[in-house]
Assembly symmetry: D2
Homo-oligomer: 433 residues x 4
Amino acid sequence: MENSMIESKAADKSTCFKDRYIERRQQSLRLTQGLDAEDMVVQSMPDASPTKWHLAHTTWFFEQFVLLPYAPNYRVFHPTFNYLFNSYYNNVGERHARPLRGLLTRPTLSQVQEYRQTIDEAVCNLLDKLNEFDPDQAKVITGTLEVGLHHEMQHQELMLTDILHALSFNKLYPPMRPVIETATSQAIPLSFESFDEGLYTIGATGKGFSFDCEYPRHQSYLPAFAIANRPITNGEWLEFIKDGGYHTSTLWLSDGWDQCQQQQWQAPLYWEQEDGGKEGGQWLQFSHYGRHAIVLNAPVCHISYYEADAYATWADARLPTEQEWEMVATRHPIKGNFQEKEQWLPQAAQLSGMQQLYGDVWEWTRSAYSPYPGYRAPAGAIGEYNGKFMSNQFVLRGGSCVTPIEQLRPSYRNFFYPHQRWQFTGLRLAKDI
Amino acid sequence: MENSMIESKAADKSTCFKDRYIERRQQSLRLTQGLDAEDMVVQSMPDASPTKWHLAHTTWFFEQFVLLPYAPNYRVFHPTFNYLFNSYYNNVGERHARPLRGLLTRPTLSQVQEYRQTIDEAVCNLLDKLNEFDPDQAKVITGTLEVGLHHEMQHQELMLTDILHALSFNKLYPPMRPVIETATSQAIPLSFESFDEGLYTIGATGKGFSFDCEYPRHQSYLPAFAIANRPITNGEWLEFIKDGGYHTSTLWLSDGWDQCQQQQWQAPLYWEQEDGGKEGGQWLQFSHYGRHAIVLNAPVCHISYYEADAYATWADARLPTEQEWEMVATRHPIKGNFQEKEQWLPQAAQLSGMQQLYGDVWEWTRSAYSPYPGYRAPAGAIGEYNGKFMSNQFVLRGGSCVTPIEQLRPSYRNFFYPHQRWQFTGLRLAKDI
Amino acid sequence: MENSMIESKAADKSTCFKDRYIERRQQSLRLTQGLDAEDMVVQSMPDASPTKWHLAHTTWFFEQFVLLPYAPNYRVFHPTFNYLFNSYYNNVGERHARPLRGLLTRPTLSQVQEYRQTIDEAVCNLLDKLNEFDPDQAKVITGTLEVGLHHEMQHQELMLTDILHALSFNKLYPPMRPVIETATSQAIPLSFESFDEGLYTIGATGKGFSFDCEYPRHQSYLPAFAIANRPITNGEWLEFIKDGGYHTSTLWLSDGWDQCQQQQWQAPLYWEQEDGGKEGGQWLQFSHYGRHAIVLNAPVCHISYYEADAYATWADARLPTEQEWEMVATRHPIKGNFQEKEQWLPQAAQLSGMQQLYGDVWEWTRSAYSPYPGYRAPAGAIGEYNGKFMSNQFVLRGGSCVTPIEQLRPSYRNFFYPHQRWQFTGLRLAKDI
Amino acid sequence: MENSMIESKAADKSTCFKDRYIERRQQSLRLTQGLDAEDMVVQSMPDASPTKWHLAHTTWFFEQFVLLPYAPNYRVFHPTFNYLFNSYYNNVGERHARPLRGLLTRPTLSQVQEYRQTIDEAVCNLLDKLNEFDPDQAKVITGTLEVGLHHEMQHQELMLTDILHALSFNKLYPPMRPVIETATSQAIPLSFESFDEGLYTIGATGKGFSFDCEYPRHQSYLPAFAIANRPITNGEWLEFIKDGGYHTSTLWLSDGWDQCQQQQWQAPLYWEQEDGGKEGGQWLQFSHYGRHAIVLNAPVCHISYYEADAYATWADARLPTEQEWEMVATRHPIKGNFQEKEQWLPQAAQLSGMQQLYGDVWEWTRSAYSPYPGYRAPAGAIGEYNGKFMSNQFVLRGGSCVTPIEQLRPSYRNFFYPHQRWQFTGLRLAKDI
């Protein structure tokens, strides 16, 4: 496990690390505010997981990869939990079938909370005694803990996206959180900023944490291109709908058109037209705040890659590559509407200049999720983290309004299948020059 | 709604009826003892429903079919509940998709309990004022309430069978109830009692409650036959397994053999061999009492019609028809191991003579569930109760250890699809003479 | 193989039997007139088989069950044909997967014709030497040959129904045969004939050939009932369509409604409305004679059990039981529009009195296909012929315009699944009195 | 249709073009030698098409895109053929469902041959009068004809791969062609040739025909790498099998492992072990020459991307990118074992140096099939040719033993889904330096 993903580049002192650890772990519990124990059991599709399962699985990660190998005299919390809460690590044995996670009524939520507390105490104990370890080993321990925290961040985002999907099937339209004030804003005109062709350096810098798939840093030749100043908005998406976008096969990729027809897509996920689409019905959206009217100037969200690509074709543009996106993003500070702001609904852009590269919505790129030149998956179970998913998925960049801000950096590569829509996914246009 | 199913033949006085109503409704809540709120949310397959859904749906039945039409000034409890808790009555509008009942985290359990209490109070109020109604209408009201109580009984049984199925997917093998003492008994030898050919009268007598499908009472000509003194036991089933019963195509119905191979049946549902079936591994069973060894002299349970039929062929016998079963059953008192005994595991027979016709396990008959001669489904929503299921299902008779005793009578016709196994289903052999 | 199905009751002399054998076998080839070799390869669904496969499979039946066991020194025609042309006899080994029969381009049609000729010569040789056998064995041989001929008749009908289904997918609407003159006739008013209640004798008489499932002859008690004088016509079915029959859930069995919605049934199979159902479009039908207008006074055909049952409910009637049908049918001579007339389209009734009990369309009964009292499946492979299909299917009676007349008798029980529509299936109403 | 794909860069004179046209079209018919008309009807899976359909569809292409728009007074051959033989061009209307192509018994083979002849004569007439057209329009006509010929070449390869798949289901193992002498050769040791990092130019040169997706020619930065001197052989693949390659999850991409388990892959497609895999059974392969032993030193063939990737991981290497492959290939002449040699089985390498870049087996690259920088799909129906498939597929390079040699050039990009195995697909290893 001696790769860049594991060795935390930042030489965190263990005490401040312990505070970060506790804070990050408590955030997971804070995110469940507004949910009842019953809400946390259910799984609405194989792609999603129950809230309770997320809480247990992230805990299992620390137990399995930190405590069991490194904590002296640590005894496993429950012999069956490795079976129940392993997600996809073939290296660590048999596991509960993914599509059946919603049947795990036991352990109950309070037992899972107890599990979390026990593991957190053991991790803190381990951190307190970190100076008793050989320095190299201590480095591996904090490195693995760092992976665990970033893993926790990813699941914090998933908890929010998965529960939204689960609640969306309920005609009671239950809000998870009290309604927020949505900023009403002026529409910012769409414009394009140009960039010169050239050899650019892409990938993780090695400063701070990055996942293995962001390495190695390498050169990539980009032709001249232009990129939009902001994501496409709900209002612009409505134009696409009105122009027959969902019924015009020539705008779509072949696989996308198949999906569009099979799933009978008519609008982004969670959109519903009042009166079932009779002429003039207002478009409503289900979110963590219940059901409400869509906000025209806010970025469109919950669209598949196929829809994003069809829109770009319709708009006589294209999606950016991940290299283009990253090159632009390194020129801008990481700020925006992230999870911590507790506005879990993309917000309308407020300023001029390059807007919302970070936060609000993940931006589909046209880049398939592939290994960077020279990439090698790390050995062992941790090596299953990223490398084995490098087929059939597309890269998304920039984070969303439910992403923890600490997780973001210009080189961060998120990835999903092109038909998936339950993440906070939107699009930004690009053009060849 | 003026059919035999609705008009209660027993002229219950409304006060004693109120007690029965309250008692029956409270029994539903008592059955949830041992379950956590989280257990009550989940649905393990489309055929089964969540405990919470059962609690709400049975309540909706009284609200929809009694309170809304008859209770003066009654206001609907919640406008969306008709959508959420209608099971299959096309007559009363659109409804939540059956396979997605497990996503209904809201209303929460405590809200459903409140729903139950509100409806029960309104029903009791209605019963208190029954003498203010026209006598004919009062009769319809009590008749419909009677249907509602029998409907509640059916769901009480389903609550127990469905939760067992849901818990069975959990490798923690959670017991719902503390372990009970299982009677160890002698094996009672299998013997056959003979009956003469002749014209017999079949169907509901009109005394006490019966469902529409038990009518009309009619004559049926039966050839001479013999029927076994008790159901087939786990021990006898083991012989079938050891003799290759699950791998001998010629014993099976064609559709049954397809199922057996597709589902890779090797034993009754909930059976598992220690060490995954290595030579000599003990057979264990999952029940409401957790996982434990099978009891050799207890009736085999959780088998499909196809398995029952294959066993009978293997044993050079056949299953009885429902007419044969009913004719024999009318000659015996209704007693046995029913839900109220709280031994939710079939018990070994203890005596000589005809054993366990009632209780312990439902007995598959070879009779397809068809209309009796002259049967007509009642008009309206109540007419959807039985008649529309008269294809592709087989009749079971006698009730099981999770059936409320009040539900049973010789003419009672239960029915399931021949591949289904999650009910407490067993078999009794018959023979031609 | 010493059961009633095998022992031909008719003491056919072997010479006249040989003529019958040759005639019956040649009829199979005659039925392929109008087809190209390419037509005979394809399989349009797992339920249907290619024409060429039928030609080979019926031949294999004689080779497998007559020549190999009884013909001295007979050598198998091709070692792989048992694998390729066994239909469903688990007793005689592994076989080619049923849904993949349409991939058997080899053997070619001419090789299959050669196979037929070789086997026919060997059977004729055997028949010529029948007097050299022990009389009991000779009886078994002719009995098995008799089964083979009835098996051939069944496949002759299937050849015609299967090829119609295969050709129906082709927008060229290829006629298999030149157009026939369709009798234009007056509508005969629907009326009902009544029958008294009583004990009736049902099942094969033992005179002439019958299949095992028609035995034992037994008594059955029937209440009084009335039965229609003719099948329901296309014109009457149009009324059902216009009255919203395909969109009224309360008319349907629950499983039927599911099918109706999933398959989007709007009319009988092979019906298509000109201009895709725009107001006023004429209803067309695809048949062996290409595409043409429906004949209003001819019996409706290619409907499922579910549709037949829904129609009966809509018409305030019901389907007859198979016992009722048989009791009536024994009172009428076996004549009507059968395969040999080469009018493979149901014809309008022409006379008064009880019409079309035999021929034109198979009539769905409300009787599930179950064993008669005392029925036991024969031992060995022949025992797989009927008994193993006794679940989930419904009995049809009377034969159709593509049934060989020799196959029909009052006790003949045909059976199909309630969702199947590609057979020549119609309905006759009955009523309780 | 005025893009590079349409405008043939080579200024072919129309007479020599006519010869090429006739020759290419006749080749399609020559490829069917050894097949019976019945073989040409069937479709073994939705991905494959019947031989007869290929013959008709390629003809339809010329009729639809050349004759109907350009040939004066041309009348459509048959009004329904556009419906039957359009493959996937949404722009030109409704079409016969792809998975049901195997049901098109009509038109018969001889009618399709007549269709070919009629269209070929009309095309030759058009070519004879080409000088009567405006020069720009003449250029478009020959350009479209050129696309049609390359389209024909692609279908010539598909005809051979699809019929092999169809015949493979038949236990008669029918050879399409008489057995060929397979060269027995020495094993050539695997070695790697290194290339420097740098900016390389990739894509179609504009000399001669290329498809739209090979444009625009552009620069790409490649790190230093090494590439193997020849494809992996059957013998090397056997080592992978023996080392448990098909049972070691950690070698596989996640989606690949799912496929491997669901499909129970144990070896390349068309491999079968004698005696069903009992110890010591020889590995046999089904090919156009029937069933025979695998040739150890020949390139492994009929493997999915997932298998190729798993092998590379097992061998501590990786697959090349398409840019790497193309850069190397431009340094070597286009020669090898192509369709015209009529050795439709990959042959063992015979020499030293870089072997078999062209011919024998298509080589999987690790590059997802994506648009080149600046790519835009052409307008109109021809624009559906390539661009709409740019998701979820991987690029293959180099052609195979069933590819027409004329089709090949260094920039040619073939693409298939990563789970597909019925093409002549193999792999060549690469390494980072």
